[in-house]
Symmetry: C2
């Protein structure tokens, strides 16, 4: 059998062509982006100072404000993932020697505390057992003992599925004159968030969960009290890349500004993506999307109940976006996840103290659909049966 000669040397150095498997992404994120968002990322590339792109930046900022439910001018997608948006908050709002208080429900609360420490703050934490939430009275006591410049909360703790009543917590923090920072990575776009009505000074999120875009940008909003704190800094932030003052020289310090100072080259394709994701979201309607997530979550919860599985998170703290399921005793949870992966479905395992004890199932963005939930439940049923498990 003859074969055509191949350029052997080149074959040795170039990686093989991309050939990813088809996956239904039902873990804690990324979830599957809307295919229209991926298509948008291939639209005609323009420069980051092109008049068309400047217009698009304004549109994306305005759309993000609607999704955050805020009038904050300082609202933009940071050129990094959700973690970068949260780091932007901490490195700009805090500086060496500042006091910060962080409510810790799990891994992502610990991460907020670590980000604040890296910013040079003295950080106190309020920690609760996995699945629980922080009592506003505990925040009140902690701030009564020692005031803090900033108090940080995670809206939905992705490791435990616990969702906090942010309006109440923020009100306590503001009574003590603290800035309120919010991690809404696993809630933005999938359930009610009211940045202004709740009195949040800074919030960061991601694109790959309820917004239905790929990971890569960090939606961020910063209110006037927080921007005043940024302007009153004694020292520049350690970060130049995520320096809010510099970012808004490019994104526009005032609405309607047409001249933009170069800072870094914006990730144009990713911003096309979030623009399309926000357009799809606002065309669907924000409340309609929240309802769609709620309906998908309820269908999943009913189905899990039918399979004899129960949610780890106490009913009072559950949210629609991330469903944390207790692994039944005697089951090898990793084998179940592997069986699902072989069937083309990714679900998440536990993180931190919950490794081996829970599965994490995201019903988010494009995947928050009844048909998708049904497919997932069917495959999970099969995987459980294959492992010989009966409720």
């Amino acid at each position: 059998m003859t074969r055509l000669a191949q350029p052997q040397a080149q074959q040795q150095v170039a990686p093989p062509p991309l050939d990813p498997p088809v996956r239904l992404l039902m873990g804690p994120g990324p979830s599957n982006p809307d295919p229209r968002v991926l298509a948008a990322m291939t639209a005609n590339p323009v420069g980051h100072l092109d008049p068309y792109f400047v217009e698009l930046m304004d549109q994306a900022m305005a759309a993000l404000r609607r999704v955050f439910r805020t009038e904050n001018h300082h609202t933009l997608p940071v050129s990094g993932t959700g973690s970068a948006a949260l780091e932007t908050i901490m490195l700009n709002l805090l500086e060496s020697g500042d006091e910060a208080l962080v409510a810790v429900l799990g891994y992502f609360g610990q991460r907020l505390a670590e980000l604040a420490r890296r910013a040079g703050a003295r950080v106190r934490t309020i920690e609760v057992p996995a699945g629980e939430i922080v009592d506003p009275a505990a925040v009140d006591r902690a701030l009564g003992q020692l005031p803090a410049k900033l108090v940080a909360f995670v809206h939905v703790e992705t490791t435990t599925g616990a969702c906090q009543p942010i309006a109440e917590l923020a009100a306590v923090a503001r009574r003590h004159n603290a800035l309120v920072a919010l991690d809404c990575v696993t809630s933005l776009g999938g359930m009610p968030i009211e940045i202004d009505a709740w009195g949040i000074d800074a919030a960061g999120s991601c694109t790959q969960k309820c917004l239905g875009a790929p990971p890569g940008l960090g939606p961020l909003t910063v209110g006037p009290r927080a921007m005043a704190a940024v302007r009153a800094r004694k020292q520049k932030p350690a970060t130049w890349y995520l320096d809010l003052s510099l970012l808004f020289q490019y994104w526009g310090e005032q609405r309607g500004t047409r001249t933009r100072a170069f800072h870094h080259t914006a990730p144009v394709a990713a911003i096309y993506g979030i623009h399309e994701a926000l357009r799809l979201l606002l065309t669907e309607g924000l409340e309609a999307r929240w309802s769609r997530h709620q309906a998908a979550h309820e269908a999943l919860a009913r189905g899990l109940d039918g399979l004899g599985l129960s949610l780890f998170t106490p009913p009072a703290h559950r949210c629609p976006t991330i469903n944390v399921i207790s692994v039944p005793p005697g089951l090898d949870e990793a084998r179940v996840r592997n069986r699902l992966l072989e069937a083309g479905i990714e679900m998440g395992g536990g993180l931190g103290t919950l490794v081996g004890r829970v599965w994490r199932v995201g019903v988010m963005g494009y995947n928050a659909e009844l048909a998708t939930v049904e497919r997932f439940l069917g495959a999970l049923d099969q995987a459980l049966r294959a492992e010989g498990w009966r409720a």
Copy 2:
């Protein structure tokens, strides 16, 4: 004429659909990505811990090593733009009180110095007039007077087009026992770079120039001497998002590691993009791509000469990737750029001290082709004629 009823309220809040103009991007970057790279970004999305994705990360790291010409294990695309790669170097290699020396040829040298200052270093600069490069003897003298932990150079200063003999400069710095950091944003993939042979300890670049991908990732390589300095830090870096120790818990601290600790959710679509861009580059051949850039640059230089225009950068310091053209006296340079933009072609204006005095024309990546250069020259000729200018 009857029209179908439209959901009026929703139309008010959703931004209009994306509709970017077709542009030939001949500025200092972004340049047009290869359409195959954009297509790759829409491939089946997988999770950031998917076994397929872990394999892809290894392939991308290996391919990046080949493009940087290094054996450095610690080579990866940072989840931010080129600026983030450079910030990663400074925030990890430097800490409070360290001495740093930065050679400044223009805006991007100043940026390196600012990044080093933000990292807490005491920064000295060696500054040269626009278009000039730094004399290795000046670096030798400066380090003789006071040693530095790190010396930073820009390979190609994008504002002036000046390209430095990095091997010589790095040798001087290493004789003084300093770490050598390199900004190769406007050179990687388009002209010879030899990270190991030149003795570079850390280098950062971008995706949107000679690699032919959209902006969004920051290729980075860090050598063993630099990683030893990172491990010897007295304090953690202020950045968690760009902390090298944490990044490599996810990307793999050793070659062949299959278990990856979650850090941040990798920008999967962007990594598909750089994987395809690197595959295309290594299939073409690195030296072949350098030659293609050189040929396109020479064609452009000949064409500019034919139009009566001259390059700002002294011949001895010119490079193929960015062509900085002196604006002839009496011409309104912004009007010429606007005419080109109306014809669908973006070229860059001056930055910093060269505003109004130069144009910047990138011949990079997918655009480093003779036919593209010819189209550009034809359009520039027309724009100059329309402005009534004759050589």
